[in-house]
Every structure is written in structure tokens, then in C-alpha cells.
Symmetry: C2
Subunit: 425 residues, 2 copies
């Protein structure tokens, strides 16, 4: 279901209630690579949220909930290259613009950008943080599209294929549905490189392939799922052990996802469950709660449990930590916790990712300085034995509800929802 | 065949002969969309040409043909996210760097950018204008990859499919081979919108589909081909007539492609052949040469016959018209000719596109002001009858050689080299 004119109107009216003065929102221009070449245009998420039309160099003025779009139909020269402009009546009807005026009439008003006043930014965050019915429907579509792409990637995975061939199946899946990607995908047999931007690797039997991929649907909403699965199709015993640890950590985190809980408790639940698992396997020694308190788990799980999800995959991070961190809160200085992107109480209609991971990162696990504070609780010989696991992450997208939460990836085919752990022993 | 260290060394030495002082070249950073999200990184073409490594935030210093790369291995924090740095010896060997120094030692030297002194820019243009053996091999690879993608798109085209489904076949083809796109593709049943960025249309029997698509190969070199073909598989009589006119115009232009000829004569040959065809079909009246002189053809063919091709699809247009226009030359003010991107004598080892087109653009052909100067030579009734043709472009990539020229698209399967004109009458 598409977002309707009345949905955009309602968002503007709600903003006017929270922040009465007039506000200008700009769609922005295309990003460029080696000018004059432009990437496909994608309007700023604030603009898409309140005004919907994915078109460059637009400005909309919101005044008491009314929307004036400033737009000039292309002149002859411009329209020869870019085509004729749209029908203005259709434009008004589609996005609920109250008026369309020439660009020369844009007044001098407060612009919504990262430098805007606190109360304006806070009002926008309050709206975009809790997704209305139209936004929830869009998120579902984006996650469904993401699911179908992952399914194709999993089917295409086999020994001797290159990572970019798996990437291709993801891209074709979302493009065929009229979508695109919500961020640069990670498709890697070296899952321990957290932001690996390369797709050069050749898959080998016994590898795990980590796929962190999100679709962006036609209205610009993001999905973001990670699956890690064997090439192909059985786990090695130690891979299976760690996979279960990560899966248990994710389940523990998902159980904490409900309105009123702090998101950092979701993070902590994952850390604790993972640490319990690593203690059981003998990589760590000691009391799990104490180990988490000291940050020992972060040697294996250095990132945060997730982030806000919406029109941006890291929703509203154009505003820094302002959306992710509740007013008055700021990042921890502890390694691991400092990478938590979200520290707020969860509320109904928020959407978040839940994505614990285990990574065998040599720069941490072979680094005397990083290991020093934890000498008493590490079994280095056992840790070494798990090197072949490399990286495992499992990521779902969760919509908070009045009662509990809904895993948006529940539409996944069963084999993707929970990868069957068949061990090749 | 990959570009070798000795190829990069030779380019640097040739630059030092043309411009002796030291020069800094930067790879640049990733373009961003809704910060903090980045597009996949692609180094500046000048950097790729002289230094080869597609990696962000690098600087190379060229001194008397020697290359010093300034590069800092990632620290622990950075390498946790982005992985470990490369082996420096391998790096030296792959790209022929003479030295690798810390980033803190970058000296204050002339930077190669669009504001650099004339003699530096002219030296770089002279090198990149005439492709060395390594560059020619790369261009061939990029065009071959482009050809295979077009072939898949053609096979996938049928009534009721959406344009984005055809786009998907193009993307999957190049991605599966480890490449990407050299520019935002055009895949449209409305070929008359020259820069159509949308892929929303539904293909209908009787449409022509215009596909303007280029691969970028692994080293960053660009292909750029256009084919226009029926959905599916027969032309309507008037589409076929105009297709033949455009094809004849392209053949006439290709015949002019040889060292010593002016590229604007290539353009003119296409304009003349197209005008002859339109006179024969009765859309235009009068002497073709005179009509071209007056610019009447530009009502149907408003753009230039093509552009330089290399590491950029519009090669070196980051320097404006400096590479495209020979020193002392500048753009015409005549409609049509003003859009010619290249006005130089052709030389061996230059690569150019040859891409005439016919477009039924209402903003021109229904515009009394634009038609007024040509009232005496237009048959508006006949023109109206060809409205259904919309847009046809045929584009090949040509490498100039000592004797004549080589059409790099000659590797095309026969059905793509020359689309069989079967008329549904």
C-alpha cells in the first residue's frame, strides 16, 4: 500500500503541533562521482517523510500543517534532456500539496537541517521515531523485498563462485521489483572484516558466507538483514557451536524488545548470552555478568546490537546521535559499548535492528595490548581453535508494538528464518 | 590483461617529460548520500590512471617519473571495521610505487585538479587522450562486458515487463563479472526523453526500447553502448523507416572516423545523412546540406554525435571542455551543435562514441517558437505521423587507429551488431 496524500498531510499537521513556526525542507541534489557524473538521485529522508516526491532541487514550506511546494516546470532546454514536467494537479493529489509556487518565491524561513534549533529537530525525531501506519506498511515492504533477495543469494551460493556473483543475485532481486539497496551490501567469506567493501573472494567449501544486505523500496524505506550460512551446506563443528551462541544471543536480545525496556538492555542481553556461550565453550572463563561488565565480550562482539530503522538504514543519523541517544545521554567510552548506536527506552512503533555477531578479529585477538586487561579470563588456546569461524552475524528487523514486538523478518521462508545447523563432523 | 606496474611507471615517466615539476594526485573520498551513508568508493580517474589503486584518501607524489604513495596502515580501531591494510611489498609490486611514506609527510606541491596550471592539465590530457596499450586492453574489456549486458537485456525484453526488470538484467550481467556501471543507465520505452532517469514504464508490444548502458570494468574503464529495439520482435513500418535513417547516419559518421579528420565532421556526416533520410521520408524539405547548415536536423537530433571515452564515460569532463575542445576552440551557440562535447582532430589511439539519434520531442516539435525559423522546410503533417517512433539512438565505441578505426563493439553477437529490421506491416 502506497503512502497517501492524507498520510503526508497528517505528518505535517503533527509536526505543526510539536513545532508551530514555518519550516523549509529541501530534497537536495544528486551526489556526484567524478563530475559531471551523478548517482541516481534520492531525496533527503526528511523531505521524503513530509513531502514524498523523490525529485531533486525541491523545497517545501510547512506552515501550520499546510504544504507549499516550490517547483518550476522545466523550460524547453531542460525538458529536452529531462523530459516534460509532471501534471501539477496530479502532483497535488499524490502528495497533498496545498499550493505549488515558483522557486523564486521561496521565503527566508528556518531550514530543517542538522544545524536547526533543538526544538525543531526534537519534534522531527519524535515523529520519525514512532512509525505511523503508512511508515509501518512501507517498512514491511522493504523488509519483505530484503527477504526475497537474501533467499536468492542463499540459493546461488556454492563453492567456486565469487562473492560478486552472489552480490549480483541480491541486486537483480531488488531491481526486478523496482527497488534498490538501502546501503552498500556486505557479501563476504571474511565476515570478521565488519565493513568489508570488497567482493573479490572465491567461496570455498567449508566457508561461512556473511550477507548483510538491505533493500530500499520504491518510496525510499529501508530493510537491513544479515544471514551467515555455510558454503554449502554443512557447518564445521566449531562454526556450528559459535553459530548457536550467536543465535542464542539474538534470541535473548529479541526477548528484551518490548516497550518500556531500554535498548541498551537489549544490547546487554545479547552480550550476556554470548558470553555465557563463550564460557561454556571455554573461550572465556569466569562469571558471565562480571565479564560483560568488564567488556571482555567486546573482544569477540565489538559493535552495538543495532540501530533505528526507517527511511535511512541508520535512521536519522544525519543528525548525529541526536535521534539515537535520548536527551542528556551520550556514548560510553568503553570499547564495545561505545559503538552502540541507540540508547533510548523502546516505545511502540519504533523499528530497530537486532544483530549480534561473533568475529575472530586478529587485530584484537592477537593484540597483546588489547588482551592484557583480560589475561585472567581468556583461554587463548581455545580461542585459537575457533579462528576458522571468522565472522558470524544474525540480524533481524523488529517493530515494537504495544504488547511486545513483531519480527518483520517473520515472512522469511523457514530455511532463512532459522538456518538449519547441519554439522559436517 | 591487467595493467602492470610497468604500465603505470611508463605513464608517470611520460608525464614527467611533458611536465617536469612534482605533482600530487589524490584518490578522493567516497560520495555520500544522506550522511553517514557512503556510495561504494571509486577513486578519481586521474589517480587510477597514474597510480591504479582504487582506495580512498590516498595521495601520490610524482617526481621525475618516480611515485611516492602516502599511505598509513590502519590503526587497530580502524582495522576492526575495515580490515587489515595490504602488504606494502605487494602494493609496491602491483602499482610500481617507488616509495610508501606516512600521510603526515605529504609535501606542499602542485595538486592535479581542475584549477591546476594550464601546462599541467594539457600534459595530462595529452596522455589520457591517446590510449596506451594497457588502456586499450582495458577499454576492450569494458566494451565486451557492456556488450554481454546488452545481449541479456535484449533477451529479457518482452511485453508487460517493466523497465526496471530489464535494468536488473543489465546490472546482474556486469556485477556477475565483477564490474559495475560507468553511468546511470537509460532503459526506456520513451527514448525521446534523452536523460530519462526513471524505470517505471511497462513495455508494450509495438514499443521500441532504448537501452543506453555502459559497464565499468574492474580497473575503472568505461564502455558506453546504446541499442534501440522492438518489443518484441518486429518494427512498425515508420519505426523501421526511422531506424534505417539513424543507422545510415551512424554508418556515415563511422566512415569519417579516422586520424586527421575533425570530430565535428563526424558529427556533420551524421547530421547530413540523417537529414537526407528525413527529406526522403518527407519530414523535411530542401537541400540537405543547407538544412544542416541552418540547424533544421537538430529539431530531431539535438545532441552531439558523441564524446571521448576512457576511465570516465565522458572522459576528462571533470576538466570542463578543456579535453573535449582543442585549445582555442569553444562551443558553438547554434542549437544542436552547442551540445557537441568533442571538437578536436581525431588521432590514433583516441576512443570516442558515435551515437546519432532521432527523437520526437514535443517540447521542440510542438513548439511554435522553435519551429518558426524552419516553417519553409518542415512538413508538419508528415512529422506528426512519425510521433509514435519516440526515440531511437544507436551508439558504438570506436578506437582510432593509424589506419582508420576499429569498432570496439564488433565483438557483439550479430543480432546486436545490426538489429534485424523485421517490419510488422
Amino acid at each position: 500500500m502506497q503512502t497517501q496524500a492524507q498520510d503526508f498531510r497528517q505528518r505535517r499537521q503533527r509536526l505543526a503541533q510539536l513545532y508551530p513556526p514555518p519550516v523549509l525542507i529541501r530534497s537536495g541534489g544528486p551526489a556526484r562521482r567524478n563530475p559531471p557524473q551523478a548517482y541516481p538521485f534520492r531525496a533527503s529522508s526528511h523531505f521524503l517523510y513530509f513531502a514524498g516526491w523523490n525529485h531533486p532541487h525541491l523545497t517545501v514550506l510547512l506552515t501550520e500543517g499546510r504544504a507549499t511546494l516550490f517547483y518550476d516546470q522545466p523550460g524547453v532546454e531542460e525538458s529536452i534532456w529531462d523530459g516534460p514536467g509532471p501534471d501539477l494537479d496530479e502532483l497535488r493529489a499524490a502528495y497533498g500539496f496545498d499550493e505549488i509556487r515558483p522557486g523564486s518565491e521561496i521565503p527566508d524561513r528556518q531550514v530543517l537541517d542538522p544545524q536547526a534549533p533543538d526544538d525543531l529537530l526534537e519534534a522531527v525525531i519524535q515523529l520519525r521515531l514512532r512509525h505511523d501506519a503508512a511508515a509501518r506498511s512501507q517498512l514491511e515492504q522493504a523488509v519483505d523485498m530484503t527477504v526475497r533477495a537474501h533467499f536468492q543469494a542463499m540459493r546461488a551460493t556454492r563453492p567456486e563462485r565469487r562473492e560478486f556473483q552472489i552480490l549480483a543475485t541480491l541486486l537483480v532481486s531488488v531491481t526486478q521489483e523496482g527497488g534498490s539497496t538501502s546501503f552498500s551490501p556486505i557479501v563476504s567469506r571474511r565476515g570478521e572484516i565488519l565493513h568489508n567493501p570488497l567482493y573479490d573472494g572465491t567461496l570455498q567449501r567449508g566457508d561461512l558466507l556473511l550477507v548483510d544486505f538491505g533493500a530500499e523500496n520504491r518510496e525510499g524505506w529501508a530493510g537491513d538483514l544479515t544471514r551467515t550460512f555455510p558454503v554449502r551446506t554443512t557447518f564445521k563443528p566449531r562454526q556450528a557451536e559459535i553459530y548457536e551462541v550467536v543465535l542464542n544471543a539474538q534470541k535473548a536480545a529479541l526477548r528484551e524488545c518490548r516497550p518500556g525496556r531500554e535498548y541498551r538492555e537489549v544490547h546487554r542481553a545479547a552480550c550476556l548470552a554470548m558470553t555465557e556461550g563463550l564460557v561454556q565453550l571455554g573461550l572465556l572463563r569466569g562469571d558471565p555478568a562480571e565479564l560483560v561488565e568488564r567488556g571482555a565480550h567486546a573482544l569477540f562482539f565489538p559493535h552495538g546490537i543495532g540501530h533505528l530503522l526507517g527511511l535511512d538504514v541508520h535512521d536519522m543519523e544525519d543528525l548525529g546521535d541526536r535521534a539515537g541517544y535520548a536527551p542528556g545521554r551520550s556514548r560510553s567510552t568503553q570499547f564495545g559499548l561505545q559503538s552502540l548506536r541507540l540508547d533510548r527506552p523502546l516505545e511502540a512503533d519504533m523499528a530497530v535492528t537486532v544483530e549480534p555477531g561473533f568475529y575472530w578479529i586478529p587485530q584484537l585477538l592477537e593484540n597483546p595490548e588489547r588482551l592484557a586487561p583480560f589475561r585472567d579470563c581468556l583461554d587463548l588456546q581455545t580461542i585459537e581453535a575457533y579462528r576458522e569461524v571468522r565472522g558470524i552475524r544474525i540480524e533481524d528487523n523488529v517493530l515494537l508494538q504495544e504488547e511486545g514486538a513483531r519480527n518483520l523478518s517473520a515472512a522469511l521462508p523457514k530455511e532463512l528464518q532459522e538456518i538449519e545447523i547441519v554439522v559436517n563432523s
